[in-house]
Amino acid sequence: MMDKYTRLQVVGIYAAIFVFLLFMLLPFIEMFMTSLRPLSHLFRSPYTFWGSDFTFEAYSKMWTTVPLLGRYIVNSVYIAGMVTAITMVLVVPAAYAYARLDFPFKSASLSVFLGVNMFTGAVLLIPLYRVLRTLGLLNTYWAMIVPGVAFLIPTGIWLLRSYLEKIPRELEEAAYVDGASRIYTLRRVVLPLAVPGLIVVGVSVFIGAYAQQFLFAITFNQERAYQPLPAGLFEFIGYQSVNWNEMMAAALVGVLPVMVIFLFLQKYLVAGLTAGAVKE
């Protein structure tokens, strides 16, 4: 068997995993603890990890403090979902072309895509603002979707291209010899085999879209009804005080549906990776 670690090594590995996870999860734990504390408790010194006055009150109060909260959560998922859908529609044929076809400036254009990735959205905010204004897209959902798609296409192409390249060329040659067109081959042979890759790319695009929408939302959109959750969380910052506990509660609740979807997808991801394996 491959399991050749000694007991000491196993302990070491788990200790390392524990430290790593602690580092990643501690903010979430603190978020959760904050959401349970009454506001008066928040700034108490010395810091106490657990108090007898912890309640889930913030989770019900947040909906009245920020009445549009539900809408923001839906907006967030909607914007990220639309970005993912449009990106995938554009990335699949592009990645296939980069994986299989020969055309002028192929590697040059791929490098340009990589170069684009090195700019953060922040650098391009002002030019983007002018473009969107000219197109009349400011203060619509599209103001957040279009730049999102644009920034995620390069990563999508790079990720999916390397996956498509692993599909044996002979499968496509066999389809070609049997009279199938490129599109038919893509639809019936390549894409079904690329499902695990499509899920990986789709997930990473979705995460990217979810993370980047804050920047586009606060710059390109003034319409409250279209705001996604990260921008909506600002409403917990009042003139007098900041409702930290409710803000944390709202953030956790907002992320929850996405987390559930990913836990569910992860199962399929693993199943898909083994089922699609190509026998040599």
Binding site: P168, A174, A180, K279
Partner: protein
Amino acid sequence: MATLDLQNISKSFGAAKVLQDISLAIQDKELVVFVGPSGCGKSTLLRIIAGLEEATTGQIVIDGADVSGAHPVDRGISMVFQSYALYPHLSVFENIAFPLRVQKMADAEMRKRVATAAEILQLTDKLPLKPGQLSGGQRQRVAIGRSIVRNPKVFLFDEPLSNLDAALRGDMRVELSQLHRELSATMVYVTHDQVEAMTMADRIVVLNKGKVEQFGPPMELYHHPATKFVAQFIGQPNMNLLSGTVKGVGPEGLAVEVTGGTVMTLPVEAGGTRAGDKVDVGIRPEDIGLGAGLRMNVNVLERLGGQSITYGLLADGARFCATLDGDAAVREGEAIDLTVDPADCHVFNANGDVLRRLKAPELTR
């Protein structure tokens, strides 16, 4: 009815000439095997016939029609790939039906054709399974099934058995020969295995460095190899080559002095050979018997049961191999005396071309 003519096919990848001026006329219902060492261009030639690669120059003519620029389907060819190239996400039925689905064939007709193919290949009970659930041999049959449903004029096989283990390869060889008879179709088969070539082919094309060395029936290649390359490539173990010098030319053949001063009179056409020329004398291990003549020190002895193969060195240090009887009284480390009938010897001139044997056996087919 399908003839396949290759006319002056050449192929270059940049400066590398992979195929040089290849012309072959393959007859209807013939099974022709392309054989050669790796890198000889045999797969490239097959891919050019299939339409997966374009020839740099030359024409491909099927049934009298030039199909050089045509799509594989319009050429009327189908191909079986080395890795089977089965679609892992589709059932065996869908794999076999794939070319028919592409044609948008009516459902009833499609089912009938797949059922017929499955019956020929004994796959009927495997139709609902996925390729991953099949054994290597069964997968190979599915790949063949996919190629026969379309009723192509010419079948192309690209090393179809090289992924199978030795025992299965033997079985599949027989099955493929039977299939060839049943379908009575024109087939082109690429392999690097000379046993497959010898056993299956009606005619063999031996390719070397992008050129045709010889094109003919298996036994002709065996008894009358045109070049030293063919002589060494066909036959197992490889033919022995002894360097020799021509001592005289007569009506009975050439008098050749080989290792250790032995002079043999070999019954071959002299061609332009004269006394003093250097030649190579080829002797097949299986033509050698025990008896006075050449003395060999046996280094390795392989007892195969029916045969004993001995490897060793002659007095002058030349490597030599002889196939003897299974029970031959031979031991490793001892010297033995070997003899060969001069009529069985092959003689090659300095260019590697053969001097035609005068007393070779009649060709059997």
